[in-house]
Symmetry: C3
Subunit: 335 residues, 3 copies
């Protein structure tokens, strides 16, 4: 199975900005299209005081930072042009729902998504909603958020609604990781409650050990089928195991996770996320190589973003120099 | 208002070295000049055992690491050539003044700056002193350092003296941030004492929330006017909000800070710092894109350091491949 | 003295993967060869569930992640081709020996190295063993590991055995650093016990202050001579002093360490490690510049991996633009 969807994390919790303009983003969409990406999910269109565009709703509630580029318009236009479905991620205040004021989080998002639907609803690529408020276990208050928001979003525009929960796993919560059985029970309860207001669930796959990933994927896949939800997996392409937080993942680990996902019967693989961690234009050079490894593995000619510009040309210079120095040595030893 | 000054942080507390040689530094000065930088500030010419050149004074006091390139000579020569004013940053022992032995810190710096003035004083670009010992509040001992050093430096060479304090703000000191009122009182006291030995004050702008920055800038600007000091702002171009410490800042946040500074009436914007965080030659690719965003915003043709070498060429390859694959599909569907 | 050996850290504790394929690795070996590298040490051929190839022994003991490329075959072939000696690093379970189950760590490695010798023993470049289990002080259990493994490895293939201990120094263990005297006593005891099963000792050089490094190197060098061991030094090319863990080291610090090593009388300098921290193809651009600085210092033409592709071309564009803008200004002022 191929990776056919990706988050776009330009309004971010913790990942550095690439500072791309329109030209760089278009090149990135081309690179996505080339490997078969048909879905992009804007992970959130606003977080605290940053947003993808200058929203009247957000500006009337918060001290927003001006958006010099309308990223939502840009991403929708590029999605229109390249035949990609775009999922719109909701606003995350970073405070109300963290502090128990769930209703305020819901109310702002109702107004925000109305504004968005009015302003950007004409884009044919606007094909999904993404509720950005992540959970890892049953939480009755967030169930209520999902129900209220889900119904509202469906009323605005009847398109699929996606969530991407995380697993309370040992790689992120070493002190009190959940067991597979606890995970199953908890999410059985969640799915029973959200089945009417959410369509697709894409668990993040980086919170558990590589060895136990398949078992979790299988449970998730079966739970999704039980409640007639669509089950995607969010194949994280960043590395949680090294000191820098976070660089692109290593290729063997990515292969392992894609293989586990394919065997588990998930409906689709998406990733967090292409533009930083597996793009040939990434600010992290290791991502450029990861793109090539991925291309090779699915039978596509690699782009060689790293290789063409550096390795080949410099490799040729080095080859020449090495040959000359060997020739020199031979000349000397022949004397 | 444009950014017209930058620190040079090659002798650093915590930022990785670019390992540039003369050619790379000259290119960087050209890139600075192109966007209108007229002032560079060497943030410190010595820190613990590293210095910009092999100083006799420092070597007789500390186990110094040899300086393979005379960076001070290089920076002064490039400043001469490109018509840039250079501010010389003092030595920071990293220990004496931290441990209360202020006099020793002063005495070493007196001897060090004499050596520097003798050796490098002929450079016409040598146009300012920078006292590298940063504070965030009134501190009578450091006032004494400023007074002693300030008088000494003025005696050596009567050129402007700059300091760049930080604000004890909530982004860096979440547990006990200062209030705007406390900040104002404290710095009123500082300015009253240093007005005779310091000429320019450039507060760092990254320690407070984006929403409160303008208020702090306004207070700083008014205080400077009250004491007839020149008020610059140090617009940090690195990002304090992400997990990696530190990458280039995101463009919307930089726009926000430049706008707040312009409205507040500061005399000049400088940045910490160009070469890592907004240079087209930066070791951080996101900085190369930031340079282009900045160029566009001030009406200059962007350099497209990232785009020309990667995006355009690879984008063309991708466009061709995508067209061919669409052509192939059409051919198939026409059969 | 030149750096003539390097670790290869593709199976890593904490360093991000470059995601290189065969072409990139070959270019990297060319770049090593060009500066005179004659020895590569695969730091470990397996760590927890990742390995350089799909080992039957490891797969029967652990849930291994599939190795999409046989890196051991690749590194041996490249070493054969470029006339480089390869040291094979043992498997590190990351648990047994940490938890006191030393015998299990030994037994797995006996079987693993037998498998390796059978499968890869025909490569002429297979010229050394590296025991990857690092220590910083006398430890009777690890002495036993070294003795058992050393004898086993010698029996399999009578080639030199290398270890690379760390110093319990103040840069890594600020709270209870060892003194030089304690270090000497402890390692005198270690060397007395391992002299028959280890041939080469290459202490890591980054755990102590720059000022005290020479003294440690001298002690290590004398101890090696006393016990007729070969004494190498592992000149770390990453920077432990900045916030990002870890970028390439700054050039003056590397010069300092190479100079101290040369004066101390070590037999050879190796580094941890070339491909991330001083390669012209590194994912860290500062490493590309470090390679050039190193080339210049040993009288080789630098490769200018960073300069050719960016600085020169962009520098020319900038020069043109700057000249034109000066010409424009002159034209104006002549009117």
């Amino acid at each position: 199975m191929k990776i056919t969807g990706t988050f776009i994390d330009e309004i971010t919790h913790d990942i550095p900005s690439s500072n791309w303009g329109e030209r760089e983003w278009e090149a990135d969409f081309q690179a996505m299209k080339y490997i078969g990406i048909d879905t992009v999910i804007i992970i959130r269109n606003g977080y605290r005081n940053l947003a993808t565009f200058n929203s009247k709703v957000l500006s009337s509630n918060f001290d927003m930072i001006n958006a010099p580029i309308d990223l939502l318009e840009l991403f929708l236009s590029l999605s229109d042009k390249y035949g990609i479905n775009l999922f719109f991620g909701t606003y995350d205040s970073g405070k109300y729902w963290m502090n128990g004021d769930y209703q305020r989080e819901v109310d702002i998002n109702k107004a925000f998504t109305e504004e968005v639907n009015d302003k950007y609803g004409h884009h044919p690529s606007f094909q999904g909603w993404y509720i950005s408020h992540e959970i890892d276990t049953y939480n009755p208050d967030v169930m209520n958020v999902y129900r209220q928001l889900g119904n509202h979003l469906k009323g605005l525009r009847d398109i699929p609604i996606l969530i991407s929960p995380y697993i309370h796993g040992k790689k992120q919560f070493a002190e009190d990781p959940t067991s597979l059985e606890q995970h199953k029970e908890s999410w059985d309860k969640v799915f029973a409650e959200i089945r009417d207001c959410v369509d697709i669930v894409a668990f993040q796959d980086g919170n558990v050990d590589y060895a136990e990933l398949y078992d979790y994927l299988l449970v998730n896949s079966k739970l999704a089928k039980k409640y007639q939800l669509t089950g995607w997996t969010n194949v994280e392409t960043f590395d949680r195991d090294v000191l820098i937080k976070f660089p692109p993942i290593n290729w063997p680990a990515l292969c392992h996770k894609m293989d586990a996902a394919t065997r588990s019967g998930v409906d689709k693989m998406i990733t967090f996320e292409f533009s930083h961690f597996m793009s040939p234009f990434s600010i992290y050079p290791a991502a450029r190589h990861l793109y090539d490894r991925y291309c090779e593995s699915v039978g596509l000619t690699p782009l060689n973003a790293g290789v063409e510009s550096d390795t080949i040309r410099l490799g040729e210079i080095l080859s020449d120099r090495l040959e000359n120095s060997i020739a020199d040595t031979s000349a000397l030893s022949n004397m």
